[in-house]
């Protein structure tokens, strides 16, 4: 292992009398990230490095009839201009197959530069490779492309009426029904039947996508901004026809992903292709605009939520349908309506997702795909129903809190939504709210308070790792997971320290390199739970090995002992009568420098078995119970009565996310989700020209992310009770924070102003 993927854990010294799990320890990579030492994918120096720049199609659909690269090639320093006429021919992307998750990594089905067809406005049609980034970019502007345009379907709003019902698959259901919801809605004494719309969004990780690729014969090293190192490795091997074992993908630091770096987009393929074609290491760092044109974003949606209730607020009907888009060249639908099967105890329910196919770049998953936008509609509608009924919105939710999963009657693994609302209401001061919209004022500011529920189901994948304990007492965890800021390395070190009873400072975690044992992609809030499960198994194996070693000696107090009667603490194994031995002592006596154990197999039958295990556990879990990370958002806004300007002034999020491994990093994850939810509600939207399919605001100047001034102190609190069905009782928390956030804000705006905005984002014009 080179230094590239090695990250030394240097937390404050501690003794094992205090456990690591549950403590707000500083990030293990904190120093690297605050001193400029942390190296990201575009920052690896290679001798003789060349630089690439993309030329993007300017039509939505068509064929290239001519491509003139003469002027570009003449720019000093240009090495080559690759087009469909001269680019190396790759194997086409594989067909997506849910039984082989890595087959689903390609963002689109297009064979970039191996076709004269254009499938979206912005598709790369040429790559310039030059000695400097400046020369490559300048030459890219000089490539002249002529197209035969073909008719294209681009306007989501216009296509909505042509939406077709989505078919479900192994991983997600697209429709569900219980009872006769339309009849129940018609018969309900009180009802709402509403339409909500959300715009396209983009992830906008501050690090733009970048790839540095270097070939050595048929061996390939790639530094890539990816959340999925293993899938990228497999995909590149397949496309370039080289053995998987010869491809190494390195990504110890990823500058934010949020789903946008989960799949493999054109830049990665084209950087590797350019390196192949020129025989030089090549870096392709996308421009911000290039990210918008070559990396998918979140689908827009149009949703119907209809709720029927008795005068007591008990829901009798819940209908939630959605239209979202995919592209003709790829994209998976977001499970927009799924959340509505879990939150309210309605007797009659219907959920249906519909899709349209457009000639745009594929959509892709973005933080809490489905739930993020689905909860906006559902939780806004519940607030509207509460207004109709004249019932407090929290009280309405409590009256409809189910004992079993509403859509199918399955058991909940746990359900602490009542407790979350109670905790949040207390901290927020909900009792001070007067129900009438517009009734709370502070000078020229209209004050409003809103609530909404957060909901995200956890998933656990298969992780492989090795765990080594050395005679000097140090522990090394090697696992090819990824760190984009979630705090995975820190949490993993904490879990390892407790499982072995060693100080946190003696644990080192290596990650972010495909040369390490395979871990799942960083996405779906799955990673920490997946790695934790493997790590606990490995720690048990390791302690067994150490106990066996100790047992070989007649001098050891551990001879003849059973592991389940021993405690791992203070760097060793100890009996209840405090007799025991340190690991260092055991290894020294045995003359062993270290003991290492492995969990999982990366290749052949072992890898296939891992996939099968994942799918079996997924399906078994889904049959047995329903589990989710839950929460209650409390938002206070102040709206300028003259200008309609909305300021978020206070926020409380009370969450049930199982065991909290590290309150410091967990709080940051949840706050980050809420901040993204605030952006989603108030300022963010990707504007797609419905005539040309071109994104009109592909920059951080015109796509408005929340800034410092937009974000008040966010009070995040936890119930911190372990989930009985998850390893260590933990659930991923990267996604749950954003769910419900936009609805809580929209509900607060309604409370402040009496205006109900059902079309995000809530810009000033909609309040005037």
């Amino acid at each position: 292992m080179t230094q590239i993927s090695t990250h030394t854990v240097i937390p404050p010294r501690s003794t094992t009398s205090e456990r690591s799990v549950g403590r707000p320890v500083d990030r293990v990579d904190g120093t690297a990230k605050t001193t400029g030492e942390a190296r990201f994918s575009a920052e690896y120096p290679y001798p003789d490095l060349a630089h690439a720049a993309l030329v993007h199609a300017t039509v939505a659909r068509g064929r290239i009839t001519a491509i003139d690269t003469a002027a570009a090639s003449a720019v000093e320093g240009v090495l080559t201009v690759l087009t469909h006429e001269n680019a190396p021919v790759l194997k086409p992307p594989p067909s997506p197959n849910p039984l082989n998750l890595s087959s689903m990594v390609s963002g689109t089905s297009v064979s970039y530069l191996n076709t004269d067809e254009v499938h979206w406005n912005g598709q790369p049609v040429a790559v310039v490779v030059a000695e400097t980034p400046q020369a490559a970019r300048r030459a890219a502007l000089l490539v002249r492309v002529t197209y035969d345009s073909l008719p294209a379907t681009l306007d989501f709003a216009a296509e909505e009426e042509n939406a077709r019902p989505l078919k479900g698959d192994l991983l997600s259901q697209a429709a569900a029904k219980k009872g006769d919801p339309e009849a129940a809605l018609a018969a309900a004494p009180v009802s709402v039947d509403l339409r909500y719309t959300t715009p396209p969004y983009h992830h906008n990780a501050i690090e733009p996508h970048a790839t540095t690729a270097a070939w050595d014969g048929d061996r390939l090293t790639v530094h890539d901004t990816t959340q999925s190192i293993d899938w990228v490795r497999r995909h590149l091997a397949l496309r370039f026809g080289v053995p998987v074992a010869g491809v190494r993908v390195i990504a110890p630091y990823v500058g934010g992903g949020f789903g946008g770096k989960g799949l493999l987009w054109p830049g990665t393929i084209l950087a590797v292709m350019a390196a192949r074609a020129t025989g030089r290491p090549v870096r392709l760092a996308l421009t911000r605009e290039g990210v918008y044109h070559t990396v998918g974003g979140r689908t827009p949606s149009a949703q119907r939520v209809a709720l029927g209730a008795g005068p007591d607020g008990r829901m009798t009907a819940l209908i939630h349908t959605s239209v979202s888009r995919v592209a003709r060249v790829g994209g998976r639908p977001e499970p927009v309506t799924a959340v509505s099967g879990h939150l309210y105890d309605a007797a009659n329910i219907r959920l249906q997702q519909n899709i349209v196919e457009l000639d745009l770049l594929s959509n892709t998953f973005m933080r809490a795909p489905g739930e993020a936008i689905g909860t906006f509609a559902l939780e806004s509608a519940v607030d509207e129903l509460a207004c109709e009924l004249g019932i407090d919105p929290i009280e309405l939710r409590m009256r409809n809190e189910p004992a079993r999963n509403p859509i199918d009657g399955k058991r909940f693994a746990r359900r602490l939504l009542r407790e979350a609302y109670a905790l949040g209401a207390e901290r927020f001061g909900w009792s001070e709210r007067t129900p009438q919209p517009g009734s709370m004022r502070d000078g020229r500011w209209l004050v409003g308070m809103g609530v909404a529920s957060a909901y995200h189901p956890p998933l656990q994948l298969d992780a492989h790792l090795t765990l080594r304990l050395s005679v000097d007492g140090t522990v090394v965890v090697r696992c090819g997971f990824q760190e984009m800021g979630m705090g995975g390395a820190t949490a993993t070190a904490q879990i390892a320290a407790d499982a072995l009873g060693v100080p946190l400072s003696s644990v080192r975690v290596e990650y972010g390199d495909s040369a390490l044992p395979v871990a799942p992609m960083a996405g779906g809030a799955t990673q920490t739970a997946s790695v934790a499960a493997a790590l606990l198994t490995a720690a048990e194996k390791l302690k067994k090995s150490l106990l066996a070693l100790a047992g070989r000696s007649g001098e050891s107090p551990l001879r003849g002992q059973r592991l389940d009667r021993l405690e791992a603490r203070d760097g060793g194994l100890y009996r209840a009568d405090r007799q025991g031995e340190t690991y260092t002592g055991i290894l020294s006596r045995a003359g062993r420098p270290s003991v290492e154990v492995a969990v999982g197999s990366d290749s052949g039958l072992g890898a296939a078995a891992g996939q099968v295990r994942f799918m079996a556990r997924f399906l078994r879990d889904r049959r047995r119970w329903v589990k989710a990370a839950l929460g209650a958002h409390f938002c206070e806004v102040r709206v300028d009565r003259d200008t309609g300007e909305v300021r978020v002034s206070r926020w409380v999020g009370a969450f049930d996310v199982g065991t909290v491994i590290n309150p410091k990093t967990a709080g940051s994850q949840l706050r980050g989700g809420i901040v993204m939810g605030i952006g989603m509600a108030l300022s963010e939207q990707t504007l797609v020209d419905p005539r040309t399919g071109r994104i009109m605001n592909p920059s951080l100047s015109e796509y408005h992310l929340p800034v410092h001034a937009d974000i008040p102190p966010i009070d995040v609190c936890y119930l911190n009770e372990p989930d009985p069905t998850m390893p260590l009782g933990l659930m991923g928390l990267g996604e749950v924070g954003i769910t419900g956030a936009a609805a809580a804000l929209a509900n607060a705006v309604h409370h402040a102003t009496g205006k109900r905005v059902r079309d995000l984002p809530i810009t000033l014009d909609k309040l005037l």
């Binding site: 605050t34 320093g77 501050i206 733009p208 500058g255 800021g485 705090g487 706050r671 901040v675 974000i711």
Partner: protein
């Protein structure tokens, strides 16, 4: 470097206290000069358009977007990048978890360094107008709004800056 444009300019920069001589085409930005030619990759490129603040460095103590600046314009000036930042801010960022992925962090820390100096010098802001007094949180947020953090670590960043500004950092 082979194939470099013949049209280059030689000039001297002072970076983190050291004089360096560069020979570059005049259109190379200060950001690219730092990252590509001096190997100082701690300064980040988030948009290359002056919209995100990830490239913030200090020029004679004042914060600037190095992506909107030609390197040659800063000949003879003292540039401070994250690699040259001293003081308590980096550690305070760690203590308060003022980052997640770390990509905007260099810019946040350089910007905060420049911002504290601006405030101390009595420069006005939209929050307190011509006469800034104590550095309240609203003032920090206003003055730091040119630095985007998509991970949403804004609370921790403000906490870290407040702690250092108030001199209560350990």
């Amino acid at each position: 470097m082979t194939g470099e444009q013949a049209n280059t300019v030689e000039f001297e920069l002072r970076v983190n206290g050291e004089a360096v001589t560069l020979r570059l085409p005049p259109q190379v930005s200060l950001l690219d000069a730092l990252r590509e030619h001096l190997g100082l990759t701690g300064t980040k490129k988030g948009c290359d358009q002056g919209a995100c603040g990830a490239c913030t460095v200090l020029a004679d103590g004042e914060r600037i977007n190095s992506c909107l600046t030609l390197a040659v314009q800063y000949a003879g000036r003292e540039i401070t990048t994250i690699e040259g930042i001293t003081g308590e801010l980096p550690r305070a960022f760690v203590r308060h978890d003022g980052f997640q992925c770390g990509y905007c962090t260099s810019g946040q820390i350089c910007s905060a360094t420049g911002m504290l100096a601006e405030h101390a010098a009595g420069m006005p802001s939209a929050v307190t107008g011509q006469h800034p007094g104590e550095l309240i949180d609203a003032e920090i947020r206003e003055r730091m709004s040119g630095n985007l953090c998509r991970c949403g670590a804004y609370n921790g960043i403000v906490d870290a800056i407040r702690e250092v500004a108030s001199g209560t950092a350990s």
